[in-house]
């Protein structure tokens, strides 16, 4: 399902102009990361995808639906949104009920709900925690519950807002696995992240935002190599990209494989 954003402007009631003319289309099955400094408008932008915010000007299309013409409840069947802070999202007395809430609300039959819940719990490695109260889990696992409760809704588009914040290495790997699985299934994934190394290792397309506008966007290697432009939105290139640059590699590298390849096959020859 294609998403199309056209000249989107948004001004908060306080007068803060958070988005100042965003135009963007995201194709079905694309994996996109959005990076940029605090206050650049990243969260404001993604909140337009499921109708939590309505444009001050311009429009947002999710497939053939204009977000102005459909309720948040309706849009929830197409766009799943995982909040930055899981505690803003969780309310059930156990993990199983929490994860079943979304698909039930979408009106899926019992069998499908069960299958979706099972699948979401497996993907997030929560299968052994069905009966646990989410608030008895550590924040790492609460994050996985928040993820599972969106995955179970089986939406075509999944939005993650800062999924790796405060997560340890194992949990970051778990989240990367979920994203890889969604890619295999042909789902669209849109992720806001400050973790530029995580971005480099898991996304093919990168959008850099600054001050309510798109500063730079395109293939990950092209965007992540633009050190000077990225600095304008308080983003540093990934660690291995910086290392490659400092060593004078001809091409931008962004992960271990690319780095070691360039090292072995070009740089050391």
């Amino acid at each position: 399902m294609r998403s199309e954003i056209n000249d989107l402007h948004f001004t908060y009631p306080t007068g803060v102009e958070a988005l100042r003319g965003i135009s963007l289309s995201i194709e079905s099955g694309e994996q996109v990361a959005i990076v940029g400094q605090n206050g650049a408008g990243k969260t404001t932008l993604v909140k337009h995808l499921n109708g939590l915010l309505q444009p001050t000007r311009g429009q947002v299309m999710i497939g053939d639906w204009n977000t102005r013409e459909h309720s948040v409840a309706k849009l929830a069947s197409r766009v799943g949104y995982v909040f930055q802070n899981p505690d803003e999202q969780l309310f059930s007395k156990n993990v199983g009920t929490e994860v079943a809430f979304g698909p039930k609300n979408l009106g899926f039959d019992g069998e499908r709900v069960q299958a979706l819940v099972k699948d979401a719990l497996r993907l997030t490695e929560l299968s052994d925690k069905t009966e646990t109260n989410p608030y008895d889990l550590s924040v790492t696992w609460r994050k996985m519950v928040a993820l599972a409760s969106i995955l179970s809704m089986d939406t075509e588009i999944v939005v993650f807002d800062e999924p790796t914040t405060g997560q340890d290495a194992m949990s970051v790997r778990r989240i990367a696995n979920v994203i890889a699985e969604l890619r295999k299934r042909g789902k669209t994934v849109i992720t806001i992240t400050h973790d530029i190394d995580f971005c480099a290792e898991n996304f093919e397309r990168v959008i850099a935002m600054a001050q309510g506008k798109i500063l730079l966007e395109g293939k990950a290697n092209d965007v992540l190599g633009e050190e000077e432009i990225l600095a304008r939105t308080y983003v540093d290139p990934p660690q291995l990209t910086r290392l490659g640059k400092r060593l004078g590699f001809k091409n931008t590298v962004r992960n271990q494989e690319e780095f070691l390849n360039a090292l072995k096959n070009h740089w050391l020859r």
Binding site: V139, T140, A169, L260, L268
Partner: protein, 286 residues
């Protein structure tokens, strides 16, 4: 002189069987910048709470062993004495903001009001601290209208105005953009250089390598490693136990396996990685 001295500290939260901290022995020197690393659940936050007096005074539970910080002993001192010497910035800034104040400026003055600092001095200290952390332009905003990263700066600043001897920070930059993170680490480093003792729980290994004097790795509530960033952060046991490590270290380790790394020591910082790979190329040519 050690300003923090923990002897055989074991702690259990109420209604739990497993200790969150197990036999911790830790001395921190005055003015030292110590980083705590570890997977979630390793005890980093609990250790922060213990240093800040929240364990046991706020969380209750069972604390065994001795906790001495800035001349106070945990079993004798009250939390209100403790806060005069030790400041803690929470992992989630939302949990720290008082909810009683309309503007960032008032929020920052809240702690000083509570200890009866004169108005003029209060104003000066708030303004100085805001300048230091780069939030002067947020003074009149509501603390709740800010982004996560901005809230974290406010939370940190609200501790700095108290001028604690020991500054305890629990992932203070988790919601900040990368360059914002670097700025805040720079501020923390300069405070340590001016003599403040800093204890920082953090996942961002790259920054620890660059800024901290010493690293303690925690695992299941116990100290696994304690040493210099260069030694601890390149230890081969870290990845085995699920610790995050710097990309520079992990790529050099892979390169080493392939025969493309000369030095004995693996790099933790960009500069070390650049030097290491560059020497490899020179040798190859020589």
């Amino acid at each position: 002189m050690a300003i923090v001295n923990l002897q055989n500290v074991t702690y259990k939260y109420p209604l739990t069987d497993m200790p969150a901290l197990q036999d911790i022995n830790l001395q921190v020197e005055d003015g030292e910048f110590l980083a705590l690393i570890g997977p979630n659940g390793a005890g980093k936050s609990t250790l922060c709470y213990t240093l800040a007096g929240f364990v046991p005074h706020f969380f209750k539970g069972e604390l065994a062993g001795t906790v001495e910080v800035a001349g106070m002993e945990s079993h004798n001192a009250t939390l209100s004495e403790w806060v005069l010497n030790v400041g803690l910035a929470f992992q989630n800034p939302f949990n720290q903001i008082s909810g009683a104040k309309y503007t960032v400026f008032e929020e920052l003055a809240f702690g000083l009001e509570n200890i009866g600092v004169p108005r003029q001095e209060m104003k000066r200290r708030v303004e100085d601290a805001m300048r230091l952390t780069g939030i002067s332009d947020l003074a009149e905003r509501s603390p709740y209208s800010l982004s996560g990263g901005q809230q974290q700066r406010v939370a940190l600043t609200s501790i700095l105005v108290m001028q604690p001897k020991v500054l305890v920070l629990d992932e203070p930059t988790s919601q900040m953009d990368p360059i914002g993170t670097r700025e805040v680490f720079g501020v923390i480093r300069s405070l340590a250089e001016q003599g403040m003792t800093v204890i920082l729980a953090e996942h961002k290994v790259e920054w620890i390598a660059e800024f901290a004097d010493r690293v303690v790795a925690l695992k299941d509530g116990a100290i696994l490693l304690d040493g210099s960033p260069a030694d601890v952060l390149t230890s081969p046991v870290l990845p085995e136990y699920g610790f995050g490590i710097s990309r520079y270290t992990s790529v050099a380790r892979r390169a080493q396996e392939m025969g493309f790394w000369n030095g004995e020591k693996l790099p933790v910082t960009l500069e070390e990685a650049v030097d290491g790979f560059a020497s490899l190329r020179e040798k190859g040519r020589g």
